[in-house]
């Protein structure tokens, strides 16, 4: 647990104690339990993040973003005078630890909203608990399966489907029709091939070879050799750093010159550091955050993104990643709901489902009962890597 949480907790305990005493004095006429439930005491937000393990390069900036935002809110005096307590749990990038942490947050800490997890697998493990205990949950992960048909679960990262739509558009423009796919073997990569085939069918684009790698894999020779033999028009590496960066490096090392596209799972400095020169020339659909300085003046997200980057950089001395952005969006969506409707879970859920034109870091959210992700392919821009840095590709319709 972080220091800020501890501090927040001590403060919360003190507050609870005071309130408890006040409650005792009043209990004669108010009928007891009212103080323990809803509209008083601190508001609790739980977060389950992949802080250690394969998802560390996602979870760490997410934690930093949440702590930054919690600190800012604390300085503002909370929501309607109520303190907001942030409880962060590490799921060690595993499904079972994510489920455990989710259970603890829901039953022991009695949080009002849960944010997380960072990756698809752990998020899927948390989903049934959110549904059963009827606590709103906002995942920071990509796979659309997390929110498909869900009642209580939302997500702040762009769906894999909209990412793939963006990629297929680009492939069609380039005249590529065959894809060699090397994908993450965990939840993040599940279903990617099927979506490519489905979305690409109109343009005659299909996947001709699939290789898998574990999210914590370190050697990619075998997969890349097989991709080379598949001789597709374009190869897609679908993973998160550092694995995605190491794969990119192995790819360049084997001297494969076929163009590479990567997913939106790579939007952080760790990827650039890991892949090094090998990343030059690749194209990926990413959130606008990584190219904030290259956005046109009239971009609706520009202001939100720029101020987040400033705050984050001032606090941590490094630029935020797109993952920090997913955490920012989930936090702001939750806070917006809490401000508007208080802590009744059903009201929060209904409010989240009705979110319209909510400008965040990863895009502009418009949720519907059918779509709990709220982002379309306009949330992504095509970004290339040149000389070790992100470059916004010109001529984008959006």
């Amino acid at each position: 647990m972080s220091r800020r949480t501890t501090r927040a907790r001590v403060a919360a305990c003190a507050a609870a104690l005071t309130l408890g005493l006040a409650g005792c004095a009043e209990s004669a006429d108010s009928g007891g339990d009212a103080a323990a439930t809803d509209e008083s005491g601190p508001i609790r937000i739980g977060a389950v993040l992949d802080i250690t393990g394969a998802g560390a390069s996602l979870g760490v900036p997410e934690r930093q973003a949440l702590e930054l935002l919690a600190g800012q809110l604390e300085a503002e005096g909370g929501i309607d005078g109520r303190e907001v307590e942030l409880i962060i749990e590490d799921n060690q990038s595993t499904e079972d630890a994510a489920a455990q942490a989710m259970n603890k947050l829901v039953s022991q800490d009695q949080v009002d909203v849960v944010l997380g997890a960072s990756r698809t697998g752990p998020s899927l493990a948390m989903r049934p608990i959110a549904e059963a205990s009827q606590i709103p949950m906002i995942s920071l992960a990509a796979n659309a399966a997390i929110v498909e048909g869900s009642e209580w679960v939302f997500k702040s990262a762009q769906n894999d489907r909209v990412v793939i739509e963006r990629m297929v558009e680009y492939m069609a423009d380039q005249g590529w029709t065959t894809i060699g796919l090397a994908r993450d073997a965990s939840g993040f990569g599940e279903g990617v091939q099927e979506i490519f085939d489905e979305v690409g069918s109109e343009a005659g684009i299909s996947v001709v070879a699939v290789e898998r790698f574990a999210p914590d894999a370190t050697d990619f020779t075998a997969q890349m050799v097989n991709l080379r033999d598949a001789a597709a028009d374009v190869n897609v590496i679908w993973g998160i750093p550092p694995a995605a960066g190491l794969a990119q490096r192995a790819y360049a090392q084997l001297g494969i010159t076929t163009p590479v596209m990567q997913s939106h799972g790579i939007g952080n400095q760790v990827f650039l550091d890991t892949a090094g020169e090998a990343a030059n020339g690749l194209v990926a659909p990413l959130g606008r955050l990584v190219v904030a300085d290259q956005l046109p003046e009239d971009d609706p997200q520009r202001e939100v993104i720029t101020s987040f980057i400033e705050d984050y950089t001032a606090e941590y001395g490094e630029e935020p990643s797109t993952f920090a952005g997913h955490a920012y969006d989930a936090w702001q969506l939750a806070i917006d709901a809490l401000r508007e409707v208080g802590t009744d879970p059903q009201a929060i859920r209904d409010h989240l489902e009705g979110v319209q034109d909510f400008v965040g870091i990863s895009g502009t959210f418009t949720m519907t009962p059918e779509d709990h992700s709220g982002l379309s392919k306009d949330a992504l821009v095509l970004v290339g890597v040149q000389d070790g840095d992100w470059t916004l590709l010109p001529d984008q319709g959006a």
């Binding site: 393990g53 370190t218 997969q223 190491l246």
Partner: protein, 289 residues
């Protein structure tokens, strides 16, 4: 054919890392009967120390030396504080003890170096393509240095008095003590060797395979399997076991399924323990080094 060569080559360099870690297991086990589950952590720690030393401006060779030296100190401390004080050391007690040390080291690395995986700068960046097979220079370094270290350890056991004393302890502990060889000193030397080879493995592997606080677990397990292929008592067996394991893993990943890569080691372990518990390469001697 090019694919086969590529997979075999990548497997050899990965296997060389396993081999070094396996030597560490063998060095400690033969002398004291201790199975040191913290062996993989030696490698992870060395990688992390080297990365942070290089990050603070030390030139690469100096960072490597600092890493190996600090891990050697950790290994010696571990022997003095956790192994030597135990009066009746059995293999079971050693497993529990070293598991404790391993967990402690991991927690410490997580606290100090954080959860992210990082890679050391390669000694020589880049690579070369020979007959369609792409070779990273770092892989050549891994093979060369691992080969030299393995030879040095072998030479130490076969040709030097101290090495022969260690072998005597392994083969006949009572007789060794009768002729004045200190078992405590022998155990300390064994841990020193284990720490050094583990650290060298960790520093060499870091640029290609990356290091994090938890990368010691996999390395340790693979190294243990490699050592077991050689019956846990032979340096030569450990080296061959490591190379064999590396190549088999890569061939499985390339031709069967990448998901089975990590299963190879444990399938091998089961087969060897059932069919040839004294090791694939071992003759029937119980205590060889």
């Amino acid at each position: 054919m090019v694919d086969l060569l590529q997979l075999v080559f990548a497997g050899l360099s990965q296997g060389a890392v396993y081999a070094l870690i396996a030597i560490g297991f063998v060095a400690v086990f033969t002398v004291s009967g201790v199975i040191n589950l913290a062996q993989g952590e030696f490698a992870a720690l060395a990688g992390l120390v080297a990365i942070s030393a290089a990050g603070s401006g030390l030139p690469l060779p100096a960072a490597a030396v600092v890493a190996v030296a600090s891990v050697a100190v950790v290994a010696v401390l571990m022997e003095r504080l956790a192994i030597a004080p135990v009066k009746r050391m059995t293999t079971l007690v050693s497993l529990i003890l070293t598991l404790g040390v391993s967990t402690g080291l991991k927690a410490l690395m997580l606290l100090v170096y954080g959860p992210n995986a990082e890679g050391l700068t390669p000694i020589t960046p880049g690579g070369v393509t020979v007959g369609g097979v792409s070779i990273r220079y770092q892989e050549l370094w891994i093979l060369a240095v691992a080969g030299l270290v393995a030879l040095a350890v072998y030479w130490f056991y076969e040709r030097t008095l101290a090495g022969k004393a260690l072998r005597a302890c392994a083969e006949q502990p009572v007789a060794a003590r009768l002729v004045g060889i200190s078992l405590g000193r022998a155990s300390l030397t064994a841990f020193l060797i284990a720490g050094c080879v583990g650290a060298v493995a960790g520093v060499l592997a870091s640029p290609v395979y990356f290091t994090s606080w938890e990368s010691g677990l996999t390395l340790g397990l693979k190294g243990f399997v490699a050592a077991t292929l050689g019956g846990l008592v032979s340096v030569r067996g450990a080296v061959l076991g490591g190379l064999l394991l590396g190549v088999l893993e890569n061939l499985t990943a390339g031709y069967v399924s990448t998901g089975l890569r990590d299963a190879v080691a444990f399938l091998l372990l089961i087969i060897v323990l059932v069919a040839r518990p004294s090791g694939v390469f071992g003759r029937h001697a119980e205590a060889r080094v």
